[in-house]
């Protein structure tokens, strides 16, 4: 008995010493843009993790009502670096929970500038100031890897050495920003870099500029401020293209009508209490089953715009998930659209599952309920090869020519406020249209196209195939609006 007690005591004393000590994790978190942002704009957090022992860990970044989480396998001697996009918030909390051991937390305060922000990435030269702007001096490492984080700043000046120091993901994000008409001036770059950037800036040359000196860069920026940037479509506009989803509503109306009819029918034939109680009870059970079985389909609408002959088109997409039951649901995000994803409603409680390897959100988790429509908004750019030339043959006759390298499908032409049928045309082919023909815009997509084009401009509208995009609803719809040169 005594021996057994001594053995137990020995085990109790030696056990903690023999057990593996919890891994020591070193966590560093740094916000992009040296911690500066604008109210209501997304940003990015650079997280570095290292450990002294192999462990699995969950990283969670909470910014306002949105959070991003990812699961990592940490190895000793290897620093893991994550660039996590965060939603609009003044305070960001980063926490790391290893499989064993205590959770580590870091709290970051993002400086919210009321003035527009000017990012200045000049390796040499004195301070740069632009009237009305708050200038933030940047090194290459302060630039984000997610294009969405560029929303934090309003203009950017970079020189050749800063550009050269950017890694691939930073360059991709910068090009994405350039394609979405962000104001960028590159100073003293070599011709190769300039050609690359020229190909990505498709906003009439008003937003991506090259300068020889920093002072020239500021002059260019000042003059560009006189021209309005192409504004992204308001989410309400895209929602109008989608139309209200009434499938769930119709289903509930039919189900309730059937329940009421069943109760009335039973009432006509019997007054037995058990039957009178059982009928609505069965209806209620059937209603619950119906809600759990029938899942309303998600919808995706993509609207893209570009200038004739441009290499890139900008797109915005609206992915709507209608709910049926009260539950926490997880929806996959199409990987091709995931580079810049955020909830369309900033007040939504939403959690993104982040893939550390690809640096993109993989899925979104949120609460659903009957009739609730949660929407994710995507934006970005894609390569385009459509060029259109319009030539006046007389006062009313216009010749429309395909000056691009590829054939067009059938589409619509918006000419002087009217919609004309545009036949499919091969490269170099043309069609003659009467400006007085056509019809006023009658469909929502045509009205949207007319709203997006200046009244004196001509534009072509084509439906797009989304064959290359995976994990999208079967009846997704997409359009491309190409503005013709004057």
């Amino acid at each position: 008995m005594l021996q057994r007690a001594l053995l137990l005591l020995g085990l109790a004393l030696c056990g903690p010493a023999d057990a593996a000590a919890p891994p020591q994790i070193d966590l560093t978190a740094t916000p992009a843009w040296k911690g500066w942002s604008r109210p209501g704009r997304p940003s990015e957090v650079d997280i570095r993790l290292s450990t002294d022992a192999a462990t699995a860990a969950t990283v969670e970044v909470v910014a306002g009502r949105q959070s991003v989480y990812t699961e990592l396998d940490l190895q000793p001697g290897r620093t893991v670096r994550l660039h996590v996009p965060v939603g609009p918030a003044a305070r960001v909390v980063v926490s790391v929970r290893p499989s064993t051991g205590a959770t580590q937390r870091r709290e970051l305060i993002l400086l919210q500038s009321e003035s527009p922000l000017l990012g200045v990435g000049l390796a040499a030269g004195g301070p740069v100031q632009l009237d009305g702007f708050h200038a933030v001096a940047l090194t290459a490492d302060d630039l984000p890897r997610n294009a969405s984080a560029y929303s934090s700043i309003d203009a950017l000046v970079l020189d050749a050495s800063t550009l050269r120091a950017l890694d691939q993901r930073q360059l991709a994000a910068l090009l994405g920003r350039s394609a979405s008409c962000g104001r960028i001036v590159v100073v003293n770059t070599d011709p190769q870099v300039r050609r690359l950037l020229d190909g990505s800036g498709e906003c009439g040359g008003q937003t991506l500029m090259s300068a020889d000196t920093a002072s020239d860069a500021l002059e260019l920026l000042e003059s560009s401020l006189a021209h309005a940037r192409p504004q992204p479509m308001a989410s309400g506009g895209i929602g109008e293209l989608m139309g209200a989803d009434r499938a769930a509503w119709n289903g509930v109306v039919v189900a309730l009508a059937m329940c009421f009819a069943a109760t009335a029918l039973v009432l006509m034939f019997t007054s037995q209490m058990s039957v009178l109680l059982l009928t609505p009870a069965l209806c209620a059970v059937a209603a619950m089953v119906l809600l759990h079985v029938v899942k309303p389909p998600a919808q995706l609408v993509v609207w893209s715009e570009g200038a004739s002959g441009a290499q890139l088109a900008r797109y915005q997409a609206w992915h709507q998930f209608p709910g049926a039951v009260r539950e926490r649901t997880r929806m996959r995000i199409p990987p091709q659209l995931a580079a810049n994803v955020q909830p369309c409603d900033a007040t939504l409680d939403l959690r993104f599952g982040f893939d550390a390897r690809s640096g993109q959100a993989m899925f979104a988790e949120f609460e659903t309920r009957l009739f609730r429509q949660v929407s994710l908004c995507y934006s970005g750019s894609f390569p385009m090869a459509r060029a259109i030339a319009i030539e006046a043959r007389s006062d009313t006759v216009r010749e429309v020519r395909n000056t691009g390298p590829k054939a067009w499908p059938q589409g619509k032409l918006l000419l002087e406020g009217r919609v004309h049928e545009l036949p499919s045309l091969g490269p170099g082919a043309h069609v003659t249209l009467s400006a007085s023909g056509g019809h006023p815009p009658d469909a929502a997509v045509q009205r949207m196209a007319r709203m997006r084009v200046q009244p004196d401009k001509v534009a072509a509208l084509w439906p797009l195939e989304l064959g290359g995009v995976s994990d999208i609803p079967a009846d997704s719809r997409a359009w491309l609006l190409v503005t013709a040169p004057p």
Partner: protein, 161 residues
């Protein structure tokens, strides 16, 4: 008098209440969906209405029915009045942000109230021993209870989402 007719009338009353509230709720929801507004508020209001209106109907009918026909038939009538709204409650709860315990508790309270009010009416008749006087007293009590419920309706209201 046969118990079938009052029971049918109670079910019909419950059905009418449910149809009216469901129509109002689905109309409000359709407007909210068309405006891309949040339809959960209308669902919460519909739930509140189903509880409040059935509560008021129970208060008006329960004691009188208990006084006239006794506790057991009056309780059955109360249950017949409450039950037709269950499908509306299920759908509206799924569209609202209310905790499930709130909805279940409200339904159980209505059931309990149906039995208790019927018992009160029955006891009134036993105490007064005069059916016409018990009927009048039960009716007065029912009106007073219904008025109290209506005046205290904000207490039933679910917290804003």
């Amino acid at each position: 008098m046969s118990q079938a007719l009052p029971r049918r009338m109670a079910t019909l009353t419950g059905l009418a209440i449910s149809v009216v509230i469901a129509s109002w709720w689905l109309g409000s929801t359709r407007l909210a969906l068309d405006d891309r507004a949040d339809p959960s508020r209308a669902a919460a209001d519909a739930l509140l209405l189903t509880w409040l209106v059935r509560g008021i109907a129970l208060a008006m009918l329960g004691p009188r029915s208990g006084a006239l026909r006794g506790w057991r038939p009056a309780s059955m009538e109360a249950f017949a009045l409450i039950s037709p709204a269950w499908p509306v409650v299920v759908f509206a709860w799924h569209a609202s942000t209310l905790p499930w315990a709130h909805a279940v508790l409200a339904e159980l309270l209505l059931f309990a109230a149906g039995g208790v009010l019927a018992l009160i009416g029955h006891r009134l008749r036993m105490v007064t021993k005069r059916p016409d006087f018990a009927d009048a007293l039960a009716m007065t009590l029912g009106v007073a209870l219904a008025a109290t419920l209506w005046l205290m309706r904000t207490l039933w209201a679910p917290p804003a989402a």
